[in-house]
Amino acid sequence: MAAEKIRVLLAKPPLDLHSRGILVVATTLRDAGMEVVYLEASPKVGLREIVQAAVQEDVDIIGMSILSGSPGIILTKLLKIRDEIGLKDVPIIAGGIFPEEEIEELKSIGIAGIFRPGTPTQSIVDVVRSLAGGRKQS
């Protein structure tokens, strides 16, 4: 029986329109055999809607791309909503521009992986597999 595919939700915070990076990541993960659900940035899709989409789509991991919002404010809130909704076992990773001094802090509050500019896409595939692939293989 074929292994079930890893399901990934990729999203942007509501007002962050820089989509180039996340689209490259989406294609890369698809090419690596994963199912990718992509939520375009929109003021109608707040952080709560993102977590709800993760529930509906039954994803194994959430990837956030943040280029213009404040990563500290956004990710802290996203983690809080995720925990409230009871989705604690779905890890959150993030890519984009992060001030050096915030990285350790973001990891300590529970962000499972952070990818800054210049990251080879293969290393994103590897991290997603190791974080989400416990239950599934792709």
Binding site: R20, P43, T121
Partner: protein
């Protein structure tokens, strides 16, 4: 011996040289597997007259300030008037950004360009939950007319022209209101609003209006409202700036940049025609906002090719009679995409080359990105270095001393022809798919952009495309400048400003302008006059936007 050479035809001479070249690279191979520019066009080792066969100087090149404008839109170009030094500015609120505007002017900036945050462009007030983490971070946040007044307090509105990177009618309305307060005759007010017709989701594009619209035809209405209002009331104001520069940043190629830029500009002209506005009334007020990327000759040729293609299409296909309609004027911002997060100082060198390409290509106005492009808003020191880069190109390098210095180069003219031809093919393709405002065109364009971006990324990862500091000469480099630090207290301050304005408003007046705005939205009249009245009564951008959204439901 010399006789023998003379008797050989140029064709034979070239053939002989080509054989020698083949022979030589069999012995020692070329330094790269492939020589391709960023549009994946193969670049040959040498270009000769045979590559531009049939080239007609008068028809294909001509003279500066004359059709087909390939050599420049103005007769005198930089000999008389250098390009405008227009570094984009925007962070915090009106007061914060106004300080940077002043600093830049003191160091040689000659034009103003303001970028607003996405909250402003989408019409979201600083105290709305969805804006959390975004207010004043990526551009200036504006809630009310008070903020606009603060922003422009030290700007001479009658000099140099103000560029506003937005498609929100209320932002333009606020600029108009401030100009009126200062007693400026609106027929003399010069500037540019981006108002970029639907394509992807980029800064200052009409698609940002999706936030309150949800359909392309909805943003089309507001886009054309702005164009129509400007054509009738602000004759010196550019009502559309085709910001295909940002589309390039999203990953499209130089050829696609030409095609998508011209395609969206033509969509505006056609949209205006539906309202009875003639091409010659609007085309002279369309300007372009282009990228300048890492391949110097490709970029210089791109600007030239685009200028000629625009002139030809406007005159031959669109029936424009006014020569101003044929002239493609453009502002250029160098590529951020071609800059790196690694070894940031190298970005200063890149910025110099990208700026040089824009100048060789005849830009009217230019922004050169700063060393810290990959991190944050530039700090004062790096922003000033960008100004100095302009100044070195203009005042030391000599490249601006003669007009269109690359003209006549076999390579550049061949490449210019090639880019023009390929861009025309893409435009034909778009026409065969449908109308620019239709979602299916937008989807096709978005996919093309994403495909090109992915292909480029893969080439970087395999090392086929070298990016210094990313996949070659990699090292941990010390960076001598501090990085921009946002004021963590700013959002609180901005909300306080907003509340203060709200408390002092005349509620009766507010109700009147609100009713007026609602009826203009519903009736299908131009929304600008009512929006101007609304901002004067201190209606917030969020309140205005909600009225737009609730009262402008279109059938289409």
């Amino acid at each position: 011996m010399s006789n023998e050479i003379n008797e050989e035809s140029s064709g034979e001479m070239k053939e002989g040289w080509e054989n020698d070249y083949e022979q030589a690279i069999r012995e020692s191979p070329e330094r790269k597997q492939k020589f391709e520019n960023l549009s994946w066009i193969k670049v040959k080792p040498l270009y000769t007259p045979s590559d531009v066969e049939g080239f007609d100087y008068e028809k294909d090149l001509g003279l500066p300030g004359r059709y087909p404008y390939i050599r420049g839109v103005y007769t005198t170009m930089y000999r008389v008037r250098p390009w405008t030094v227009r570094q984009v500015i925007g962070y915090g609120g009106g007061l914060e950004s106004s300080q940077r505007l002043k600093f830049m002017e003191q160091h040689g900036q000659t034009g103003v360009s303001i970028v607003f945050d996405h909250a402003t462009n989408m019409g979201i007030d600083s105290d709305e939950e969805v804006a959390e983490g975004f207010v004043g971070r990526e551009g200036t946040h504006i809630d009310t007319l008070k903020d606009m007044r603060d922003l422009l307090k030290d700007v001479d509105m009658e000099k140099g022209g103000i560029n506003i990177i937005t498609a929100h009618p209320a932002v333009l309305a606020m600029v108009v209101a401030v100009a009126e307060e200062r007693g400026i005759d609106l027929t003399n007010l010069s500037g540019t609003i981006q108002n970029y017709p639907v394509i992807g989701h980029t800064m200052g594009s009409c698609s940002e209006l999706y936030a309150y619209g949800g359909a392309p035809h909805y943003s089309k209405r507001f886009c054309i409202d702005i164009v129509e209002y400007c054509a009738r009331n602000l004759p010196r104001w550019n009502s559309v700036s085709v910001a295909v520069r940002n589309t390039r940043e999203a990953g499209c190629t130089a050829v696609q940049e030409i095609a998508f830029g011209i395609g969206s500009a033509l969509a505006v002209i056609k949209g205006c025609r539906e309202r009875g506005i003639d091409v010659d009334e609007i085309a002279p007020r369309i300007s372009f906002f282009l990228n300048s990327h890492r391949d110097l000759f490709e970029e210089a040729a791109k600007f030239r090719a685009m200028r000629r293609l625009w002139a030809r299409i406007l005159r031959e296909d669109m029936g424009a009679k006014n020569s101003s309609s044929w002239q493609m004027r453009f502002h250029c911002q160098t590529s951020g995409d071609a800059m790196t997060y690694q070894q940031p100082l190298v970005n200063i060198i890149r910025g110099t080359l990208h700026g040089l390409a824009a100048v060789l290509g005849g830009c009217q106005s230019l922004h050169i990105n700063s060393a810290d492009e990959g991190f944050a808003i530039p700090i004062e020191e790096t922003a000033k270095l960008s100004l100095r880069t302009h100044q070195v190109i203009l005042e030391e390098s000599g490249v601006a001393d003669t007009i269109d210095p690359l003209a006549g180069s076999y390579y550049v003219e061949w490449l210019t022809n090639k880019l023009e031809d390929e861009a025309r093919n893409i435009l034909n393709r778009i026409n065969s798919i449908g109308d620019w405002w239709e979602p299916k065109v937008r989807e096709w364009v978005s996919r093309e952009i994403a495909d090109a971006s992915y292909r480029f990324q893969k080439e970087v990862e395999t090392g086929d495309r070298v990016m210094i500091g990313v996949n070659k000469y990699v090292e941990e480099a010390k960076y001598p400048f501090p990085l921009w630090k946002e004021d963590k207290d700013f959002v609180r301050k901005q909300r306080e400003r907003l509340n203060r304005v709200k408390r002092q408003r005349d509620m009766k007046k507010l109700e009147d302008v609100s009713n007026n705005l609602i009826s203009s939205c519903k009736s299908g009249a131009n929304t600008l006059p009512a929006t101007i009245d609304a901002v004067k009564a201190y209606m917030t951008i969020g309140e205005i936007t909600k009225i737009y959204g609730e009262n402008s439901k279109l059938k289409q």
